[in-house]
């Protein structure tokens, strides 16, 4: 690398503000851009959820911004649709993978950048465009879509006669998601190509940090799943705009209008959507699992327990994730025999997740635990993942799903995994890598306040939802005034809402800590956590090409902590054997 005279990947950053910060090809800037995009999306998403919780607990309270101050049923459905879409796509699919992954994958494998920097930049800007299109749907006539983030046909396919927001709003939703699919596919190609071809000397597959494994398997899932969603979106768009009948059956009569479509299958949309949708939720959690293994090991001062088992279980989860989509469709009218098959496979996919949990506990066993903010969130992740994962065992059985499907039990389940565990992993990643990204430490006191309020808060929000599910409370209800058996649940609604307000407010500690510490945090040394992986071997700020032309050789695995015979309680990956201080 250093011997070549003219290289595009010169050691110096490009001049000019536009090329340095906006249209940067540097994976670190692009990763930061994704993180900031995710931060904006999650802010809007949390505000939307606060609006939901105000409305559900106190239906007559006036909320600023709504016509007559009242959240109408269509407003409520617009809010939940936008909330789900923003959170699942623009937060959970971007930040853990394209955000932190973009930033740290190349450095952790000893590469100067991602394999395809131009495509990397393009994938960010297309994602950005997708978010603009989605948000703009709230401002068009009819407002944004009301069919949920899952956008089931025919509700999403027949246009505005099915309800407000189902005109231009729904079309823009589809366009936004289609753009997002394209960006994700480009990003997946980059992650895979980089991991396969650009690992530095000595970094064999079984020496890769589990973060890299997480990003790698996630990219495999994204590569194979997003194409399917894109195809589904195109077919849905054609049904809406070109009078085709992929998803609209014959004799469909909506709002008194007999539609001229014929022969389509609403279930086909569900199959296509969930074939993507299930890998998607693993895309949301797998990077987080890698990050948690990484953080737990660092602050336990111990190798990850069962590294190989962790790699195999990540791979098994990835592989199986393409075979379980039908568990979203037990009640859909799909063949009940298929339902049984999907059920068994779904229970099987619970096994590698359980293995990971045992191995996380094994990592803590015999450890020397340091309670940094990052570590607290990693420990919290394990707790929340156990809870959320176990409720999945109920839902995986169609006999129980007969009752629990589309109730608040499901909302509790997926929020604990996606809305809490995955977010905890992002918090852990932030507290952990912030010193490397910005050269300053985040404030530990604020971090701890953030953790404790959030940890207690999320349990107060999402555990009661399981009880609402037992009581048979259906999802996506704009109000509970029409169903007698729901009246008794109002106190639970209020409890959840108050917990939600407090927890949402507690995130301000994080926002403040994050932005304030960028300039005013305690200056950070290059390796403040005394960690072993390659990102901690480079100076802070990280040089433009990561290693200033001197690419490391890797001599050992990524989690060599407390090695007997070593002077320090960590042996970095890049340290040559003769350089390791012996006790």
């Amino acid at each position: 690398m250093s011997s070549h005279a003219t290289t595009v990947h010169h050691s110096e950053a490009p001049k000019g503000w536009l090329r340095h910060y906006i249209f940067s090809l540097d994976h670190k800037i692009i990763g930061t851009q994704y993180i900031l995009l995710g931060l904006s999306a999650v802010t809007i998403g949390v505000i939307l959820s606060v609006i939901m919780r105000i409305h559900l607990a106190w239906p007559n309270v006036h909320i600023w911004g709504f016509a007559n101050g009242v959240v109408s049923p269509e407003d409520y459905l617009r809010v939940i649709t936008m909330h789900g879409t923003l959170m699942v796509f623009f937060v959970l699919t971007t930040v853990p993978q394209s955000g932190f992954g973009n930033y740290f994958l190349p450095i952790q494998i000893g590469a100067p950048d991602m394999a395809f920097p131009t495509i990397n930049m393009l994938s960010f800007w297309v994602t950005f465009l997708a978010m603009i299109v989605l948000v703009s749907s709230a401002f068009v006539p009819g407002g944004s879509a009301i069919s949920g983030w899952t956008s089931y046909a025919p509700l999403s396919a027949v246009g505005v006669i099915a309800g407000p927001g189902q005109g231009l709003g729904q079309t823009l939703w589809i366009v936004s998601i289609a753009l997002f699919c394209g960006a994700s596919l480009m990003s997946a190609i980059n992650f895979l190509g980089t991991t396969i071809d650009l690992r530095t000397k000595g970094l064999s597959l079984m020496r890769m940090p589990l973060t890299v494994w997480g990003w790698f398997i996630t990219a495999c899932l994204a590569l194979l799943a997003f194409g399917v969603l894109l195809a589904a979106c195109i077919l849905l768009l054609l049904d809406r705009l070109a009078m085709t009948s992929f998803f609209i059956p014959s004799g469909d009569m909506v709002s008194g209008v007999l539609l001229n479509h014929a022969g389509g299958s609403p279930l086909l949309w569900q199959h296509l959507f969930w074939f993507f949708g299930h890998p998607e939720v693993y895309i949301a959690i797998l990077p987080g699992m890698g990050i948690i293994s990484h953080v737990l090991s660092t602050f336990s001062r111990k190798p990850v327990f069962g590294y190989r088992a962790m790699v195999y279980s990540l791979s098994a989860i990835g592989f199986l994730s393409f075979m379980v989509w039908g568990h979203h469709m037990f009640i859909s009218g799909m063949s009940p025999y298929s339902g049984l098959a999907f059920s068994i496979l779904t229970l099987v996919i619970g096994v590698p997740s359980a293995i990971k949990t045992f191995n996380w506990l094994g990592t803590l066993w015999g450890a020397r635990i340091q309670f940094t903010s990052a570590m607290l969130f990693a420990i919290g992740f394990v707790s929340v993942f156990v809870t959320g994962g176990l409720s999945g065992i109920f839902l995986a059985q169609p006999a129980l799903d007969l009752y629990l499907h589309d109730t608040y039990y499901v909302i509790g389940h997926f929020h604990l995994i996606m809305g809490v565990a995955a977010i905890f992993a992002m918090f852990a990643a932030t507290y952990y890598w912030f010193p490397k990204m910005f050269g300053h430490m985040m404030n530990e006191t604020l971090g701890k306040i953030h953790f404790w309020t959030t940890f207690v808060g999320v349990y107060c929000i999402f555990m009661p939802m399981h009880y609402l599910g037992y009581a048979g409370d259906p999802r996506r209800y704009a109000s509970i005034e029409s169903v007698h058996y729901l009246f008794a649940l109002q106190p639970v609604y209020k409890f959840i809402s108050i917990a939600a307000f407090i927890t949402a407010a507690a995130q301000l500690f994080f926002y403040f800590n994050f932005f304030w510490s960028i300039k005013h945090g305690k200056p950070a040394e290059a390796n403040p956590w005394h960690a072993t992986t390659l990102e901690w071997s480079v100076p802070t700020p990280v040089p433009h090409d990561n290693f200033a032309g001197h690419y490391p050789t890797v001599y050992r695995g990524p989690y060599e902590y407390s090695v007997p015979g070593a002077a320090d309680d960590f042996v970095p990956q890049h340290l040559a054997p003769e350089q390791v201080a012996k006790a």
């Binding site: 190509g193 071809d197 000595g202 009948s245 012996k582």
Partner: protein
């Protein structure tokens, strides 16, 4: 819990890596492995292979939708296969032959021969696309539009999707034919473009048979 053995300790601290070096960014004094980007050229072959997997899934989604929709709907009626499609298929198959020929000349350092056959391939690609447009006109002439029935819908969707991806391939062929490349060596570029081209060809044959036998 088993402790590490003395040999394992040694391995971590002293004995040095037993693993094979998988990548070598310091390597190569010549441009053939690295080109001008400093990245090894093989990343572009890896990249296009991965990309083809993603594109394949996109088409497989349409194919599964095709199979399911055919099975459930009552409005599946066969349409007459536009006759030009046979010619188009031959043209595309021929273009796969010509691209192989072009690479053959490239490997023997015959730049003239390479450029000639590369251009022929590009031209055949254009011809194929023009033929697809004619096929659409033939469909319309037979009275089968996008929304006429499910079968004809899939015809247009599959041919349009393939055609758009092929257009991307033609643009790539033209760009490579110009010979002014920044990050890729010409050797890598021709390999990458031809991989994609064969993929588009094979995909077309598959879609053609699907439409022919399944319509």
């Amino acid at each position: 819990m088993p402790h590490t053995s003395a040999t394992e300790e040694l391995e971590i601290l002293g004995a040095g890596g037993g693993a094979k070096p998988p990548a070598d960014l310091d390597g190569g004094g010549d441009d053939s492995t690295h080109g001008r980007s400093g990245m090894p050229q093989r990343i572009y072959v890896t990249g296009i292979t991965i990309g083809m997997a993603g594109i394949l899934m996109f088409f497989m989604a349409f194919v599964s939708a095709f199979i399911v929709r055919k099975g459930v709907g009552s409005d599946w009626h066969a349409f007459p296969m536009p006759r030009i499609l046979w010619l188009n298929t031959l043209i595309l198959l021929a273009s796969s032959v010509t691209i192989v020929r072009a690479r053959h000349f490239f490997a023997r350092d015959d730049r003239e021969g390479f450029r000639h056959w590369w251009t022929v391939t590009t031209f055949l690609g254009f011809l194929f696309l023009a033929g697809q447009l004619i096929a659409w006109r033939q469909m319309v002439a037979s009275g089968f539009y996008l929304a006429t029935n499910a079968s004809s819908s899939f015809f247009y969707v599959l041919t349009a999707a393939h055609g758009l991806h092929l257009l991307g391939g033609i643009v790539a062929l033209a760009y490579v034919g110009r010979g002014k490349l920044r990050r890729l060596t010409l050797a890598t570029a021709t390999e990458v473009a031809s991989l994609y081209w064969h993929f588009m060809d094979g995909l077309w044959v598959f879609l053609f048979l699907l439409l022919l036998l399944g319509r």
